[in-house]
């Protein structure tokens, strides 16, 4: 009974925390873009516009929901949920902190504690593409269809690089458990970013493609495809796509921090209390989140075939080479045991 309560509490707290961050990200996106463009951004709803995501959410709920004529109704309604869910589920395996001791119980700060966490999150990120494909296909709109097709081709080609870079980290730490990966990099000197700089760079770039973010946002591609896969969506279903996108950004940022920057470990303070650890993870993830925004509002967008060429001809060979080299090093250093 107690275990169940703890599990429920953890689910509620971590989910709520992530959705809040995703909501705040929508505000941050508008604020950061505004500062980059000589504007103020939202500043009317609450101090600093902090309640803007709430107001937006309310607005979305009250908007009329349109289903285009000839759309596959079931798929059309299902797709946004399919897009948002995998991103949220991935959060379940990411350790957000060390362990807390409450009433004599040691509680690890992650939603679940499965030892194949990496496999779980890879399968989840593979699922995330369905929401976009189905949304594009079910809309019965040519622009949406093109967007959905692009998304599928793009996500499949970038998934591979993403997996291969993660595998290099897994090889180094010798475990598929994200907790073990964190435990292996408690000191700044042990961070994987120093041992896997190439994998880190590739992972960071691939994150953008995986989340469909600018400069790889071909599925949306406003100037040519109008809105891509979500052209026909309105109301809360439209918002769900965005929630999914921001959740995916948050989760991947946390993942990048976990894999390469030691997750919740605090630099130069190994005995830091658990809440400092959580803040440390947030700060590291915040760096990546800011990177998402920074790139989005600075760079032009690549063309679809250029992205594919980059993915298959540059990133994939590099990731394979990196994996090979890592494997060789691991085999030679640990092979003797």
């Amino acid at each position: 009974m107690e275990a169940l309560l703890i599990a429920v509490a953890k689910v509620v707290v971590i989910f709520a925390g992530m959705v809040t961050i995703a909501g705040l990200m929508s505000l941050a996106e508008r604020k950061v873009s505004a500062w980059m463009q000589y504007r103020h951004g939202p500043n009317r709803v609450g101090p600093f516009g902090i309640l803007q995501p709430l107001a937006d959410g309310l607005k979305f709920i009250f908007k009329e929901e349109l289903v285009p004529e000839g759309a596959n109704r079931l798929m059309f309604r299902l797709a946004p949920a399919l897009a948002a869910m995998p991103a949220m589920l991935t959060m379940a395996v990411i350790p957000v902190g060390g362990t807390v001791v409450i009433a004599g119980r040691e509680i690890p700060l992650s939603m679940t504690d499965i030892d194949i966490g990496v496999l779980f999150l890879l399968s989840m990120s593979g699922l995330s593409v369905y929401g976009v494909i189905l949304g594009g296909w079910a809309s019965n709109s040519k622009y949406s269809l093109l967007g959905g097709l692009r998304a599928s081709a793009q996500m499949i080609s970038y998934e591979l690089t993403l997996i291969l870079t993660i595998l290099a980290v897994v090889l180094l730490s010798g475990s598929l458990d994200l907790r073990a990966i964190v435990a292996a990099q408690q000191h700044v000197g042990q961070w994987n970013i120093w041992y896997q700089p190439l994998a880190f760079v590739l992972f960071t770039i691939t994150m953008f493609a995986e989340t469909n973010r600018h400069p790889f946002d071909f599925a949306e591609c406003e100037p040519e495809l109008v809105g891509g896969f979500h052209t026909e969506y309105s109301s809360m279903r439209f918002a769900l796509y965005f929630l999914g996108e921001y959740c995916a950004m948050t989760v991947l940022s946390c993942l990048a921090a976990t894999l390469f920057l030691g997750g919740p470990s605090v630099p130069f303070w190994p005995a830091a209390p658990w809440y400092v650890g959580v803040l440390s993870l947030l700060a590291k993830a915040g760096f990546f989140l800011y990177l998402f925004l920074w790139v989005r509002w600075t760079l032009p967008r690549l063309r679809f075939d250029q992205l594919m060429r980059l993915g298959w001809k540059v990133f994939l060979p590099l990731a394979l080479l990196n994996l090979l080299a890592t494997g060789a090093v691991v085999a030679f250093t640990h092979g003797a045991q």
């Binding site: 463009q37 000589y38 040519k142 600018h214 946002d217 591609c221 100037p223 989005r296 032009p300 967008r301």
Partner: protein, 412 residues
Amino acid sequence: MTTTTKVFEYTPGANLPPGDDPLHGELMTLNMGPQHPATHGVLRIVVTLDGERIVAIDPVVGYLHRGKEKSCETLGWHKFFPHTDRLDYVQPLMNNIGYALAIEKLAGIEVPPRAQVVRVLLMELSRVMAHLIYVASQSIDLGAVALFFYAFRQRELAYDIVDAYTGHRMNNTYVRIGGVYADVDEQVSAMAARFVEEFPLALDEFEKLLTRNRIWCDRNRDIGVIPRELAIAMSLTGPALRGSGVEWDLRRAMPYSGYESYDFDVPVGSVGDCYDRYLVRMQEMRESIKIVRQALERLQTVKGDVLAEDRRFVLPPKDKVHGSMEELIFQFKVVTDLRLPRGEAYHGIESSKGELGFFIASDGTAKPLRCHVRAPGLMNIQALPRMAEGRLFSDMVSLIGSMDFVMGEVDR
């Protein structure tokens, strides 16, 4: 000068894959516009796609047709000025001047030297403002959103100058037959002088963000190549022609308003792709600033009236109208009953988009016989199908942006 005629073979849909090719199934017809984020107004393009590849496109113009040329025939010569503002609405003063020049040619009016300097100043500021719109829209279409705002901010500074001078940001209608409505005062020339100093720095900033940006190059280089001969055959003008390596600038070739006495370069491209057109426009802005600087210097020395003294065609100064019966009658006659000499005239100016020409024909009455606008944007659209064929759908955005047309002028 000799001219040669060359026929360009063109079969729409020549790239069509054979029907039994298993890799290429059905073709898709995609209707782009007239309401579409990338079509710059209300251009409609019917795109035939084979997957992501463009088989053929068919631009449909006319969604912004307001009968401007016909309006001139019913309104009369003088009252058409406000309508020229609304042709290429990102450079209203340039259109004003083009129209005024055609009328002055037919009526044989000598424009005072100071008015000519003021006109050059206005034309070059307009060119900068129009090219800034190009940079802004091209970069937002290719995804560099921040640059859109940077460019618009600079454009806003230029608009402030025009606003201080004419009292309007857009649709100024400040040019009159025989000159301009009022003189440029100290405040306006001080603002312009500041702009001339600060704008090149902003331009450097834009170039830092774009010119050597790998993604920007990938999206613009070797896309929409117009060979030299094709550009001439399509009667392209302006940056679209100069991007293809043809050094043809009306300010040089057939100078007007005293352009022959200004020192400036005519930048030309080499390949004729979107990137060349981008470089040409960026360079043109710098050259325009150079001309503005010279015009500002001349304003210090060239003094005098800014309106010709010709009561048959030119409005009398406003202060005299309020005090004198004769001038009031002249004013009334010019506005309501302006009669140009019998005959016809054509005058082309180098607008930001190319050769903007006004052809006017008069039968000697107050009702214009014909007024035709040669809109460079229409020719630019004409080149689109040749550029788009065989390219990817995403390239449509680069192509539309780089041809830089304004539908107000194309449809008229």
